[in-house]
Symmetry: C2
Subunit: 477 residues, 2 copies
C-alpha cells in the first residue's frame, strides 16, 4: 500500500457533505473554522484529541503582530507594516516567502482586531524583560531580535509579541477563548476523529475525506475545500531523522500529541510538495534575566559564535545547528546571577586559564577569546559579533564561572518549521507550483513565515492568519 | 493539474511492454541496465539527453570502494569492509543509513570486480597528493577524510578513491566504457526520451510509464519494475531554494542538464517520501597542493572553524553551511605557494594585526587566533581542531598573506545529496516506510550513502551499487 488518496467512486456512501472540512483544532484550525462559518459556509471541524487546543494550548501564547496595533500604540511604540516587513524579510531565514510576509504585515492590525473581536484579552501594558512567556499579565513583549545586530540597523525596532492577559503562559487562555468561540459557532465538531485519507479525482481535485471516529470510518464529501491544520512533525522520530536530525538532541519537543506529520503526509500523498523540512525553531533561554546577556557564550573551541544579546531562539539555532549543542555561558562575579530556566555551573576559576581547564577547553582558547572581548568591551564595542552597548561590560571581576549550555544540561526546546508548500492564499501546491484543487493548509503543517530564523509568536501568528485565508480561499472557489 | 500519475485504464494502447524500464543513463542507470539484461530481463533504458553519460560523465570519475580491492592490495594498502563501514558511519552525516552502508561495504570488492569485468581500466598505482581528480593516470587516491581527526581515530585509514586510468578527469572515460557496454547489451535504448508520468493502479502499484520521444507520447507497460536514475536537483532553482538555499551561493553546480529533480518529482507524485533534501556536497579545493594544509582557515570573525587538513568536501561544508561562505586561508612566507584551482590574494601584511586590517577582520581577532595556533603548533599540537602533525607548523615568517576563499572569489562546487527514500534493495518507500510496488530508484535521485558529510566517489559508487540492486530487486518480484 502506498497511496493514501482514494478514488471517489469507491466511497460506497457519503456520511455527510460539507462546504469546508477543517482538520485539526489548534490555533490555525480554530481560525479557519471561525472564518468559514462567519462567511456562511457549512463547516465541519475534526480534531484527533478529545478536545481542541493542540500545541497552541501548550505554548507561551505569544502572537507576533505589529504595524501599529492598538496595543503597541497604547504602550507608546510606533510601528509600521513596512518596518515589520523589513525585519521579517531579514530575520526569518535564507529563503523568506516575500508574498506571504507582505500580506502578513499588511494584515496584522486587522488580525489583532479580529482576535480582540473574538474575545482574546490583551492588557494594554508593556513588559520589559523576559520574552516569550512574561511572568506578568502584561500584553506586549519583545519576542524577537528586533533590537540587536544586524536587525536594528535594517528595520526600526518595535516589540511585537502580543500575549493574552494571564500570568506566565498565555497559550491555554488563547485556545480556551478560541475554542469557546468555535463551540458557539454553527460548525459541526467531531472530536477523537482523524482524517486517514483524501478522496481525489483523477485530475487531482480533492473532493472528500475518510474520517475515523471511534473505529468507524465516515466518508465526508467536500464541496469547497479541506483545510489541513494538523501541526508539525517534531514527534515523528523517523521524519525528524530524515529531515532535521539534530532536533533529536533537544531535550524538549514543543508539541501536543498530534504533531506527528500526519497532515503533511496526507498532503504529499495527494501530490503536494514540501519545503524547508530541515528548518527548526530551537529556544535556548539562557539569557534570562536579561542581565546575563552581559555574559559571553563560547563553543567547544572556546570561541564566541553569536551576539549574546540576541533572541533566545537565535541563540538556540547558533548553538545547536552550528556548534552541535556544545556551549557555555561565561560570567564574572559582577555579572553572575541565577538564570531563570536552567543554569548548572560547569566550572569556576580565578582566571580564564583556570576556567578553560575546568571546562576542558583547549589551552589558551578562552583566554584569547576573552582578551579580544574585554579589549573591545572596555570601549563599549564588539566588532566581532556586534553585541549592543547595554550589555557590553568587560568580564574582569574574578572568580569567573560558566553555565552549562550543552544539550545534555540545558533546555533546548524544538519544534519544526517546514511542511507543505502553500501559496499566500493557503492553497497547497504541487512540485510544479500548481495548486491542488480543494486542498488548503495553514499552521505548522505548512512552511510559513519563519523558514529557519525564529521570533516567538510567528507560529501562532501565521497559523491564525493563513488559517483564516485558507477558509476564505476555499469558499471563494 | 497536480498528479503526474495516471490510471492504467486511460492508456489507450501500450506502445511497448518490458520487464524493466530504466529512466536515465548516467552511472546508476547504466549499472541497472547492465544488471537487468545480464539477468535476462527484457529491458528498456531511456535518456533525456541525446546520449548516455549524464552528470557522471562530467565528474572526476572517482568511485569510492574499499574493503581490500585488488587495486588497494596492489598498492600495498590493507583495508577491510569493517574499517570502511566504521569510517562511513562516522563521516557521512547526522543520520547515516546503517543498512545501506553495511551492504555497500560488504559488496565493495565485488563491485570493483564487476567494473573491471565491464572493461573499466584501473592502473594499479597510487597517487599521493591532489585528491578527487589526480593529474596523473594513477588508479588509487585519497578521496575523503580518512587520515584526519576525528576519523583516523575511529577507523584504520585507507585510500578508497578508485579512478579510471586517464589523466586528469576519469568521469568521461568511465561513462564511455559503461555506455559502450550498454550499447552492446540487448536492452532497447531510446535517447531524447523523457518519462513524463507513471501509470499507477489504485493500490499504488506502478505498472507503466508515459514517455515523450520527439514530441510523441509512448505508453510503456512495465511487468517487473521501473528504476528511476535521473540524478539530483541542483539545477532546479525552486527546489534548491526550498530545500538547500545556501547552495545557490556556490559558483559551480556540478550537473548535467538533467539534474532538475524530475525523477524525484515523478516519485513523490506516486506517493514516495523524500529525505535529507537539505544535504549538499560542497567542494572547496583550496588546500591543493597539500602543502597549503599548513595554512590556517579563518572566518569573518578571524576564528578558525575546521582542521585545515581535512578533505576539501568537508572544508566546503564548514565554510558554506556554518560560516556563510566567508573564509580566508592564512599563510606565511614559508608556506606560501600557488594554489592549484584558485587563490586570489585578499591581503598581505607584515604582522597578523596588519593582515586582519587588510581583510576587514575585527581588530585583534586574527592576532588572537594565530597566537593560540602558533603556541600549540610549536609543539606539533592542535587541541582546538586537531590538525595532524604533518601540517602543523607555526606561521611565523612574514610577510603573511590570505587567499580569498569567499563564495565570490573561490570555487565552491555543489550538488545535491537528498532525494527519494529507498530501502537497501532500492525500492522506493512511502512516508510510512512501505514499498511502492514496481518503483525503484538509485543514484542522486535518492538519498544514498552520504547524507551530508561527503567523500568523493560516494555518488558514482552508490549509484552503481544501488542501480544494480534496483534491477535485481525488480526482476525478483
Amino acid at each position: 500500500m502506498s497511496r493514501l488518496n482514494l478514488d471517489p467512486q469507491t466511497a460506497a456512501q457519503w456520511h455527510r457533505e460539507v462546504d469546508v472540512l477543517v482538520v485539526g483544532l489548534g490555533a490555525a484550525g480554530a481560525a479557519a473554522t471561525l472564518e468559514a462559518t462567519a462567511l456562511g459556509a457549512d463547516t465541519l471541524v475534526i480534531e484527533r484529541g478529545g478536545g481542541g487546543g493542540g500545541t497552541s494550548a501548550m505554548s507561551g501564547g505569544v502572537i507576533y503582530m505589529g504595524g501599529g496595533t492598538p496595543l503597541q500604540r497604547s504602550c507608546g511604540f510606533e510601528d509600521s507594516a513596512d518596518e515589520m516587513y523589513k525585519y521579517l524579510m531579514a530575520s526569518v531565514g535564507p529563503n523568506p516567502d516575500e508574498a506571504k510576509i507582505r500580506l502578513y504585515c499588511d494584515g496584522s492590525v486587522e488580525q489583532y482586531d479580529w482576535l480582540v473581536g473574538h474575545g482574546v484579552p490583551f492588557k494594554q501594558t508593556y513588559y520589559h524583560g523576559t520574552s516569550g512567556e512574561p511572568p506578568t499579565d502584561d500584553g506586549l513583549v519583545w519576542s524577537g531580535a528586533e533590537q540587536v545586530h544586524p536587525f536594528c540597523e535594517i528595520a526600526v525596532p518595535a516589540p511585537r509579541g502580543h500575549v493574552p492577559q494571564i500570568e506566565h503562559q498565555g497559550g491555554p487562555l488563547l485556545m480556551k477563548v478560541l475554542c469557546e468561540e468555535v463551540e458557539k459557532c454553527p460548525a459541526e465538531k467531531w472530536m477523537n476523529a482523524r482524517c486517514t485519507a483524501l478522496f481525489q479525482e483523477t485530475d487531482g481535485e480533492v473532493v472528500g475525506a475518510a474520517i475515523e471516529v471511534f473505529g468507524e470510518v465516515r466518508n465526508v464529501r467536500i464541496r469547497k475545500g479541506i483545510v489541513i491544520a494538523t501541526g508539525g512533525f517534531v514527534l515523528n522520530d523517523t521524519m525528524l531523522e530524515h529531515h532535521a536530525p539534530l532536533a533529536k538532541l533537544c531535550g524538549m519537543r514543543v508539541a501536543a500529541d498530534g504533531d506527528d506529520g500526519s497532515g503533511i503526509n496526507l498532503g504529499t500523498a495527494a501530490g503536494a510538495a514540501t519545503l524547508n523540512m530541515s528548518a527548526i525553531s530551537i529556544s535556548l533561554p539562557i539569557t534570562q534575566p536579561w542581565g546575563l546577556k552581559r555574559g559571553v557564550l563560547v563553543n567547544a573551541q572556546g570561541q564566541r559564535f553569536v551576539n549574546e544579546d540576541t533572541y533566545y531562539g537565535r541563540l538556540g539555532e547558533a548553538a545547536l545547528l552550528h556548534n552541535h549543542g556544545r556551549a557555555w555561558l561565561i560570567v564574572d562575579d559582577a555579572v553572575f546571577e541565577k538564570p531563570t530556566y536552567f543554569g548548572e555551573v560547569a566550572g569556576v576559576g580565578e582566571s580564564f586559564g583556570e576556567l578553560e581547564g575546568e571546562l576542558g577547553l583547549p589551552a589558551g582558547s578562552l583566554e584569547a577569546t576573552m582578551s579580544v572581548y574585554n579589549r573591545h568591551a572596555e570601549k563599549s564595542e564588539d566588532p566581532v559579533f556586534h553585541k549592543g552597548r547595554d550589555y557590553l561590560k568587560p568580564l574582569d571581576t574574578p572568580p569567573f564561572g560558566a553555565f552549562d549550555c550543552t544539550t545534555e544540561k540545558a533546555l533546548y526546546a524544538a519544534f519544526t518549521l517546514g511542511g507543505l508548500w502553500t501559496d499566500p492564499d493557503s492553497r497547497v501546491l504541487d512540485p510544479n507550483g500548481d495548486a491542488i484543487a480543494g486542498l488548503h493548509a495553514a499552521g505548522r503543517a505548512t512552511s510559513g513565515i519563519s523558514v529557519g530564523g525564529y521570533s516567538s509568536g510567528l507560529s501562532l501568528g501565521d497559523g491564525i492568519f493563513f488559517g483564516r485565508r485558507a477558509a476564505r480561499t476555499a469558499i471563494a472557489r
